[in-house]
Symmetry: C2
């Protein structure tokens, strides 16, 4: 079961008919203007598709006929909606391009293969005819991972939309694994698994609009990755199609038979092959989910608690800690009735006097802890984690913040479109580093974002805001996730965004962070990959790609560039 693409926004986030609590809420926009140091907000609507001229199609009729012969006439699309829909991912950068109607590159054909044999044939055809092939799942990339770039000498772009390959091929109930086609959307996958009593447990914020293949290719992480793991942890093995045929990675629970080549697939972003099948680890669907909120007087003490939990043996599903600014922003946003998301009105539920007796002043930090599993284990982990948190100065505020966050956990991205309609820019970026370096990296990236947004300010007194949280933690370190909002500099918005992005990326690279924790590399992060892989590492990546794809047909320009 796939999604009718006409029901999803081609130039924004999610369902076209998703209920909008934000656009008409004047109080929110007045508050936003104030926070950003602006007299008022502008109206900056998106350009309708019918007003946009798409780049000309470059494929001769004979080529289109050949593609139709391989994949079936209905599965080869060249209409404007399909081309616009597949022209970009869904980053702020992408939406700037799409909403402005400046689509300077679009696929020349979108092909929906129905099986692996068709994928192999399409790759061979592309290899022979000097065409680029872009694998495309849900298209929710925020790093330029599906942009229709061409390599040297390539005369056209085929985007392979994998969403018709969406079957669960096998479930091994004894070994707790499932073998699944790549184009299955999150909700479809989880519905079928849960009907059988299982779960993959991979719930990224994009869950409703992203696919299994994309999660693997981009090395994604779900919100409950503490329990269920990032893609590289739950992927058992993958089959990949290349111009030279298919290959399958090792599928053992563990091995010492040489390096684990299967670990090259997560993060390969299409350059080592088109994923045609993935075998993944399942869990039994959890009997109990326990999500609670805690407050800390500051980000430092909250961090120490997250670290203590990550370094314990407790099987927690999620530990999420917002910094003071994010906690305050979400509270304000919520109190204005703007959004049914994390913004739970903590202060209204708890007496200010109580907060102050706990040493919490005006600013404090919200932590959410999620535990999933068997009732007995959840009860044990809940009690133990609460004790650890208390020992680190955390103050339990009950299940309500946890429940509210859980209910709205996929909704935040819907806030972006109305913001972009009001002359605002909003983007996110994420990194990870070892615990001992978290404070340094946090300060450096925040400063880079604030300074660059100030330098790019559109009027005297205008400023950006930065909100940060830790959402994924490990024994040796954690991720940092930054959301930043700023007044757009109309007319030079891509340059403005690039200046801010560059500043943040340079700060990450200079202070020991990875350029991405779960978004991937695509084109946006490619310039910084060399700094963390090194010269040998980049050579290894390039030769690996050349080995399976000598002509560079597969997703050119992504990951390590051309």
């Amino acid at each position: 079961m796939t999604i009718d693409r006409k029901r999803i926004r081609w130039n924004g986030w999610g369902w076209a008919d998703h209920e909008d609590h934000l656009s008409g809420n004047a109080a929110v926009w007045a508050w936003m203007a104030d926070v950003l140091g602006l007299g008022g907000l502008m109206a900056t609507p998106a350009t309708p598709l019918e007003d946009i001229e798409l780049p000309p199609l470059r494929l001769p009729a004979a080529t289109l006929d050949a593609l139709r012969a391989i994949a079936g006439a209905d599965n080869v699309r060249i209409d404007d909606y399909e081309r616009a829909f597949h022209a970009r991912g869904r980053s702020y950068h992408d939406l700037l391009i799409l909403r402005a109607g400046r689509i300077d590159a679009a696929p020349d054909a979108i092909i929906y293969p129905e099986n692996e044999a068709q994928v192999v044939e399409l790759l061979r055809f592309a290899d022979e005819h000097a065409l680029a092939v872009i694998p495309y799942g849900g298209g929710s990339s925020v790093v330029g991972g599906v942009n229709p770039a061409t390599g040297p000498g390539q005369q056209g772009v085929l985007t392979l939309d994998m969403t018709l390959m969406n079957r669960i091929r096998a479930i091994d109930e004894v070994s707790l694994t499932a073998t699944v086609e790549p184009g299955i959307y999150g909700p479809d996958l989880e519905r079928q698994l849960q009907e059988r009593g299982f779960t993959l447990g991979h719930y990224p914020q994009s869950f409703e609009f992203s696919t299994l293949g994309g999660w693997v290719a981009a090395r994604g992480a779900g919100q409950q990755s503490n329990r269920y793991g990032k893609a590289e942890k739950w992927l058992v093995s993958a089959r990949l199609a290349t111009p030279a045929g298919t290959w399958t990675t090792e599928g053992f629970p563990a091995s010492a038979a040489g390096p684990a080549l299967g670990t090259l697939v997560p993060g390969s972003e299409g350059r080592l092959g088109v994923i045609t099948e993935a075998t993944v680890k399942l869990h039994r669907a959890p009997a109990v989910k326990d999500y609670r909120g805690y407050l800390f007087k500051d980000f430092d003490s909250g961090q120490a608690a997250v670290r203590a939990l990550a370094q314990s043996d407790l099987p927690l599903a999620m530990v999420r800690l917002s910094d003071e600014d994010e906690t305050r922003f979400f509270q304000a946003f919520s109190s204005l009735g703007a959004q049914k998301t994390i913004g739970t009105r903590i202060k209204s539920a708890i007496q200010s006097a109580v907060l102050s007796s706990k040493g919490l002043g005006k600013d404090f930090c919200l932590m959410l802890v999620g535990i999933e599993g068997e009732a007995e284990d959840v009860a044990y982990a809940a009690a133990r984690s609460r004790a650890i948190i208390k020992a680190h100065g955390g103050f339990h505020v009950g299940r309500s913040p946890g429940r509210k966050w859980y209910e709205g956990r996929f909704n935040s991205p819907y806030a972006r479109d109305p913001m972009m309609d009001h002359g605002l820019g909003v983007d996110t970026l994420e990194t990870a580093t070892r615990w001992s370096n978290i404070p340094t990296l946090y300060k450096a990236v925040r400063k880079a974002l604030l300074d660059s947004m100030a330098a790019e300010a559109t009027s005297p007194g205008a400023r950006g805001i930065v909100m940060t949280h830790i959402s994924h933690s490990y024994p040796d370190g954690a991720s940092l996730y930054f959301t930043f909002v700023f007044p757009r500099d109309l007319g030079r918005e891509v340059e403005q965004w690039q200046a801010i992005k560059n500043a943040a990326s340079e700060a990450i690279a200079a202070h020991g962070g990875t350029i991405s924790h779960h978004h991937g590399v695509g084109t946006d992060h490619a310039p910084w990959l060399g700094a963390e892989k090194g010269e040998h590492g980049m050579a290894l990546l390039r030769t690996a790609a050349q080995t399976v794809d000598p002509k560079g047909v597969m997703n050119p320009g992504k990951l390590f560039g051309a």
Copy 2:
């Protein structure tokens, strides 16, 4: 602090002066002869080093002078003991060669570098002068991983003994990581870490005589890998020296910045570089260790319990299940007073009547469960695991079997030398597969071993025996470890061993097992690697090695062959 090599056996296992409970125990040998269908055992002593002619040294004096200039005169060794000691690893196959005095290949020089700069210089020198370089840690390889092979056109072999590079360079107490040189032996590493309150927790059977670098290069597993992980799990990042300089793998707790190239290092067996530094994950030294024994009526019901434990959220350190034959063999071995190892006399401690009331007949299976960590967590996991085991028909027999196993956990390999003195062959091999395939693989490998040992029998009625256990378990599968003992066919012992090894390896490859779970590939498993990596996978491995080592200087012949 390294080990005086003269105190270790050059042609056998472990300390030269290790107390020998076995050689003089006539009852054991009479029983062994009976079990193997032999009238009596032969005397087959090893050849002393002074009676052995080593292959001639191939390095001109100028080359030796150049090596001494790089590494220091004292650190370049060419004496017979050093050459014989480094001529082979410590597999049964190796000991056949060493004990027979048929050392047809030995290093032309053994060099003990003191730092990374020397390693790089030595690799450059080897690259320029067409010499092979064999990285060598403890030399406990059982797959031919340190054999002094040469590649095409190479005129000599330098073995780099890394044991002088044995310093802990840094401990990050906040992030729970340590950065360590590769040549440190297990006991030295753990002593220093535990003095600071930490542990790596990697305790392979070879722990006393193997090094950190070897554990990583061979993708090893410690006995408590359920909690502490195989090498690929605890390795954060590695530095490697190649003829083209050094490279460092990514050191982030998690990342989505392209494929994790660091995962290529575990299992690389020297072919992607000489490991000069490894950053590894630490745990806080466990406050409590709880090891207990359980009995099951058969291997199948025991397996179901291991699986239930592995698929639970309980943080167990070790779950080890012996099959009926291994349980019986260890009991008999122990009751004869032969060895202070696992052989605890279960029946003497527990009334036979009690056993039979639990449905345990003559044959049963011993399971050992180890839990390590904070007292509160261990108590919870002990109670929960006991309930799960009981629900699967397991019968708790207390801490004594666990304690005895723990005390003797590094001693089993000492039994091999006396067996080899008595005309017996003894070898081990291991594999892993998904849970649903464990019964099939177990039967197939057992049958291949029994059939091939029978086909290779030396006299009518002579036979081999096979003992099996599960020692490492995962949510999706487990390892199987086989020990087999058989009468040697004197004069054609290598051929006999190869025939048995081939039969077992073919059975593994044909029935969905990996050719190695934690021993590695070396030369012995190289012929079967292609079957599990596939054509593309082998090409990826080869091109990766060529990228960092175009002339094939580093450990030629290992892993993927020449």
